[in-house]
């Protein structure tokens, strides 16, 4: 375990189909957010809006159809960004999609030392006892 959120799902669709659903603004507006603007090219910008008022701004880092799509995003007004990476892999059943969202990096970010979360879990026991 590390300080990132990772999910893996296999869809019965081709990588091209999954790629379109991940990168086309109109299609993203059908499953990801309620209103989407996105220029899915490296350096391109995106805005995701949800009906509950939530909004996130993104900048595309990588776009290699139909294998890899990555962006950084943040809530407007917050300095801490997280990165989201989609990896698509063709498998006999269709497409394996892996999504990884990193923990937010603050001003003292030290990316080489991100493997702490297992230790954090071990700490959680004694620490919880101190939370009043």
């Amino acid at each position: 375990m590390s300080s990132e959120i990772r999910r893996e799902v296999v869809f019965a669709s081709s990588p091209d189909e999954v790629w379109d659903a991940l990168t086309d603004a109109d299609r993203l507006a059908e499953w990801f957010a309620n209103d989407v603007e996105l220029d899915p090219r490296p350096g391109g910008e995106g805005i995701f809006r949800w009906d509950d008022g939530a909004e996130r701004h993104a900048v595309v880092e990588e776009a290699e159809a139909p294998h890899r799509f990555a962006f950084e995003w943040a809530d407007p007004g917050e300095a801490a960004t997280t990165s989201v990476e989609f990896t698509l892999e063709e498998v006999p059943e269709g497409t394996r999609l892996t999504v990884v969202e990193s923990a937010p990096a603050g001003p003292r970010a030290c990316m080489a030392e991100w493997a702490w979360a297992a230790e954090l879990q071990a700490l959680a026991g004694p620490v919880r006892a101190r939370v009043r």
Partner: protein, 129 residues
């Protein structure tokens, strides 16, 4: 919230700082000198790490006479763990929505239409409420 969580993750990204938190969790309070005795660090090194933990609001400090005593205030860590749980739950929901989207019959209609290049007038996914 991500800004607070970011500062906590930064603070916890160092092995020595995690060790300091572990030692502080076992004690009510400790000084930098006491903590330095437990770790392969100088008192100055410990002080520097405690400063970072203080920036992330993970410790409180109180001066008593000539010594400064540190106490663990782990609430921001709980916040960081909640953040990870919340983001994980969001992705579970989004991926379930993506699976439904990829499997939706209305979506297949749209795709067939695109493949055929035919200008059919059947209801597309846009027509859904």
């Amino acid at each position: 919230m991500a800004d607070v969580v970011g500062a906590v993750f930064d603070a916890l990204a160092d092995r020595n700082r995690r060790a300091l938190i572990g030692f502080l969790a076992e004690r009510e309070t400790a000084t930098a000198t006491e903590l330095a005795a437990e770790l392969p660090l100088t008192r100055q090194g410990v002080s520097k790490h405690l400063e970072t933990l203080w920036d992330a609001r993970l410790v409180r400090r109180r001066r008593r006479g000539r010594e400064t005593r540190y106490r663990l205030t782990p609430e921001p860590m709980t916040e960081a763990m909640s953040w990870m749980a919340a983001v994980g739950a969001q992705w579970d929901e989004r991926l379930a929505a993506l699976a439904a989207h990829l499997a939706a019959p209305a979506e297949k209609v749209t795709r067939e239409r695109a493949e055929e290049g035919a200008a059919r007038t059947r209801t597309t996914r846009r027509g859904q409420p």
